[in-house]
């Protein structure tokens, strides 16, 4: 899979997803101060290459679990923008009818079986989903995504140990932004994640700010899982541009962000322009189309009804 030629179709598909996530979240930033989205948001801006590079390999019935930073994975996996926007607006047309908010997204038709905001626990869910696929001999991928902060939790070790012991064909993806909330990595994790994980399984390294790097490494890791029946881990160092939570730019002194050099969108666009895979006019047109999609999603959300009190104690 890594040897795929960068065709116009592939490069445009990747750029489209990167831009959808970026522009969608930039719209959140502009809307958020008006207090119509009353839900904590953890923005993916700057890290878009990880969900896009991984999810490009996944089909709708393949499943993926992730943590509190949800929007990028959901959009990359195929969730409709309006369904996500309406959820952020707390409306019944949202993916969870306004009961989930930003942190609890669900879209079974696109392999999103729910998401959790508690760091670490969802790593085990991906292992369980992969175990189900193995027991039923299904052609189905299961992916567990998590950050470096989650690697501090016991459930991470329990999960990689179990997956390795029992040959559970799960892809672990560590989206390593070297931050756990406002702690830098050397203050929260003593050992190197890759070095430790390599005792349990094969590990692939990718540049988490480069979608082509992530996509290629994810493809190799998945091919290994298919051939061996064993789990694999994909490690993607990335840069978090925004604060852990909310819509402000991060300003931690140990998290300098180079919005030119570390930008997954800019990196891909430069490659595409150089290879003649797209023109600046083509990029502008794509940007405009996505803005139109987001406009429609906002209108849809605003016109949708709120949940009623009668719905409160149902599904319990």
């Amino acid at each position: 899979m890594s040897g795929d030629t960068l065709t116009p179709e592939l490069s445009r598909r990747l750029l489209r997803k990167l831009r959808e996530i970026r522009q969608f979240e930039e719209r959140i930033i502009s809307i958020y101060p008006t207090d119509v989205m009353v839900t904590p948001v953890h923005l993916h801006i700057g890290q878009e290459a990880v969900p896009v590079g991984v999810c490009d390999h996944l089909r709708p019935h393949d499943v993926i679990f992730f943590g509190h930073r949800t929007h990028g994975f959901a959009l990359a996996k195929g969730m409709a923008m309006r369904s996500l926007m309406a959820e952020l607006y707390g409306r019944t047309t949202g993916c969870a009818q306004g009961f989930g908010g930003s942190m609890h997204l669900v879209d079974p038709a696109n392999g999103l079986l729910g998401s959790s905001a508690l760091v670490g626990g969802s790593i085990a869910l991906g292992v369980g989903a992969a175990l189900a696929a193995k027991l039923e001999k299904r052609d189905q991928w299961a992916v567990s995504c998590f950050g470096d902060g989650a690697a501090d939790s016991g459930v991470f070790w329990e999960s990689i140990n179990f997956a390795a012991l029992k040959s559970v064909p799960v892809l672990f993806v560590c989206e390593d932004n070297a931050l756990s909330n406002v702690m830098r990595k050397q203050d929260h994790l003593f050992a190197d994640i890759v070095a430790v994980a390599e005792n349990f399984m094969n590990v692939w390294r990718a540049d988490g700010t480069d979608v082509l790097s992530v996509r290629a490494a994810a493809g190799e890791a998945l091919a290994h899982i298919r051939a061996s029946g064993k789990p694999a881990l994909l490690w993607c160092p990335a840069k978090r541009w925004m604060k852990h939570q909310g819509v402000e730019a991060d300003n931690l002194p140990f998290n300098p962000v180079d919005r030119t050099g570390d930008c997954p969108i800019r990196k891909l666009e430069q490659v595409m322009l150089a290879k003649g895979l797209i023109t600046q006019a083509g990029i502008d047109q794509m940007t405009g189309e996505i803005e139109g999609q987001i406009d429609a999603a906002v209108t849809y959300a605003r016109q949708s009804p709120f949940p009623t009190p009668a719905m409160l104690a149902t599904e319990v």
């Binding site: 499943v63 508690l118 085990a124 292992v127 369980g128 459930v155 329990e158 140990n161 599904e315």
Partner: protein
């Protein structure tokens, strides 16, 4: 839909002549569930050991769907949940409820809330077997019940069977259910025997039964406490109505309320901690909905507000038994 044929009638067949132990009734339910539905699998510490889980996993028809695990309760419970979300029907086994507490993140934050958070778009058909026990100096960390602890959390069903017949029917109902069910088994019941039909049957979750009819006092008890209360009442020929709700949640409130309206008195025997517990919940339900029928204040018999001691001398004081239950019932009946 392999489980649909059980939808027609929730009435279980009469106990045939066949006698089975409580443990073997659960073993048979697990075996039949796995034969009936290839999505059912078992996972947990010692689950695949031939004599594991106190013999309840012995000689199963589908050992390839029994997965023994390292002692990693939190992740294993999460693995079971992930498999359930992805279409299987796991039976997740915890050898002692005290160890299940390590999985409270998965149970309270994930399993209990998943259907609510996803608006039921994703079902959570998972059974968590929690084995409880006591005595033999097991002490504070191997003797807890914690049923009320789980029942406190919205989204969980909690089952506590007291006899082999109920154990099989309730277990199959739990596996069939598209909601998470905590199935709490008292080890002291494992060798008890009773009639158990060979065919598959389900008992409805949330329907209790009147174990002994009576007119002067309503005694509500679960699990091992049902057996002890039965021996107390029948052994001393006391005029008390014994009710086994079978499930802490959903609770068969109507059965309890109807009895209290008749007897005017309530004693709840709950082998668990007292504060904010199941006994307190039953008392609250009666106080809210049948207070004007009460002739005497409601009463509870529970563990003391203390962890369990190890010394047998103290254990005898700590745990209620048929004698202390009989004494309490007599004192209530003599108040009039």
């Amino acid at each position: 839909m392999p489980w649909s044929r059980f939808d027609q009638s929730q009435a279980a067949p009469d106990g045939s002549g066949r006698i089975l132990t409580f443990k073997d009734a659960i073993r048979e339910a697990i075996d039949q569930a796995m034969i009936n539905d290839s999505r059912v699998f078992a996972i947990g510490l010692d689950a695949d050991d031939k004599f594991g889980v106190f013999g309840s996993m012995f000689n199963l028809t589908h050992p390839e769907r029994v997965i023994g695990t390292p002692i990693s309760e939190n992740a294993i419970t999460g693995v079971a949940l992930g498999a359930a979300l992805n279409g299987l029907r796991p039976i997740c086994i915890h050898l002692r409820v005290d160890f299940m507490v390590l999985a409270m993140d998965q149970i309270v934050n994930y399993i209990a809330k998943w259907r609510y958070m996803t608006r039921g778009q994703v079902k959570v058909p998972i059974v968590l077997r929690a084995v409880i026990g006591r005595g033999w100096g097991c002490g504070a960390q191997h003797s807890q019940s914690l049923g009320g602890f789980f029942a406190h959390i919205p989204g969980l069903k909690v089952v506590m069977p007291s006899n082999p017949y109920d154990a099989k029917g309730l277990f199959l109902a739990a596996v069939k259910d598209d909601w998470p069910v905590i199935f709490i088994e008292h080890r002291w019941l494992y060798k008890n025997t009773g009639p158990v039909p060979e065919e598959m049957y389900v008992l409805p979750l949330g329907k209790g039964r009147v174990v002994l009819p009576g007119s002067q006092l309503t005694v509500v008890a679960t699990s091992l406490a049902v057996v002890d209360a039965f021996n107390a009442i029948s052994g001393h020929s006391l005029d008390a109505e014994l009710i086994d709700p079978r499930c802490l949640k959903p609770l068969d409130e109507e059965l309890i309320l109807a009895s209290v309206r008749k007897t005017g008195r309530l004693l709840v025997v709950d082998y668990d901690f007292p504060a904010c517990g199941f006994a307190a919940e039953v008392c609250a339900v009666v106080a809210e909905k049948a207070a004007h029928h009460l002739q005497r204040p409601v009463q509870r018999m529970t563990f003391p507000e203390s962890p369990m001691p190890a010394s047998g001398v103290l254990e005898k004081v700590y745990y209620p038994d048929p004698d202390t239950i009989a004494a309490r019932i007599k004192s209530i009946l003599n108040e009039t």
